[in-house]
């Protein structure tokens, strides 16, 4: 009888995990499409760098202060779309810059495809192995602090090698965070699909931005 109870609880847990996974990937794919659409609008309208920065600040305010109040209700979905839309808008000036340089279209498409392959590969790995990567948490968050600190310094120092190192570091950390976030969904550490979507979206967004930067430096179009 006790074994039967354990089987039922295990089955309920697996069903709940599958539901979180399905909802996360559905919302993530829709919010990525919406973000891409808003990036297109941003380029078409030609928003300035200052407006892009404003959109990013608004997105950060939404994710840190508004989302926690709505993450357990349907209103959270609207907040996710508002957040990803603003993040898409903030990409406009950067994408316009890269698309204007010779071979820029190729660079953007390579970075986009590369981001997709890295995300699908790492997510697929975490999903199929069901391995728990939560042991990486301390390393990843301390790594993020180091990289943010270096990026902060480089805003005023403008050292090209440091900028390259920051991009390389962010790519590695975001790859680790994809493993970490996906394994937390699979192993029941994350049960809220709205929070899970925002985490995975941020990983993909940062991975794309820094992969594009790295590729453009090596292609000779940026410093």
């Amino acid at each position: 009888m006790e074994n039967y109870g354990q089987v039922v609880r295990g089955r309920e847990s697996a069903l709940s995990t599958n539901k979180v996974l399905r909802n996360t990937y559905t919302l993530l794919s829709m919010s990525l499409l919406f973000s891409a659409l808003m990036a297109g609008v941003s380029m078409a309208v030609g928003i300035s760098q200052g407006m892009a920065l404003g959109a990013m600040i608004a997105a950060i305010v939404l994710v840190w202060f508004v989302l926690p109040k709505f993450e357990n209700s349907a209103g959270g979905i609207a907040v996710v779309f508002a957040f990803t839309g603003l993040m898409g808008l903030s990409l406009g000036p950067m994408l316009s810059y890269y698309l204007a340089i010779p071979g820029g279209g190729n660079l953007v498409m390579t970075a986009l495809g590369g981001t997709g392959i890295i995300f699908l590969g790492l997510s697929g790995y975490a999903l199929t192995t069901k391995k728990d990567f939560s042991f990486m948490g301390g390393f990843l968050f301390v790594g993020l602090m180091v990289v943010f600190g270096a990026a902060l310094l480089n805003i005023f120092l403008s050292i090209p090698a440091l900028s390259l190192a920051v991009s390389g570091g962010v790519i590695l950390l975001m790859s680790g965070l994809i493993l970490f976030d996906t394994s937390r969904i699979v192993n029941g550490g994350e049960t809220n699909y709205i929070r899970a979507t925002v985490s995975l979206y941020l990983n993909i967004h940062n991975l794309f931005v820094h992969l594009l930067h790295l590729l453009s430096v090596f292609a000779g179009g940026d410093d």
Binding site: L107, K131, G138, L152, I155, S175, L179, L211
Partner: protein, 61 residues
């Protein structure tokens, strides 16, 4: 980059650092610790990413 854009970006990064510190501290103190085998698995996956990024760089050069 315009000075105000630099100041705005620096403010965002400072805010992120301020919000990230308790999270990093929590995971350092209370997060699960991985075995040598766990780390080997993670390093192999990250090494594959490094290899793939090098391939992409060679493609665009």
């Amino acid at each position: 980059m315009d000075l105000w854009l630099k100041i705005g970006t620096a403010a965002i990064l400072l805010f992120m650092l301020w919000r990230l510190w308790p999270v990093a501290n929590h995971w350092m103190k209370h997060g699960p610790k991985g075995t040598k085998k766990d780390w080997q698995t993670a390093i192999i996956a990250l090494a594959a990413v490094v290899g793939f990024v090098i391939l992409l760089i060679m493609m665009v050069r």
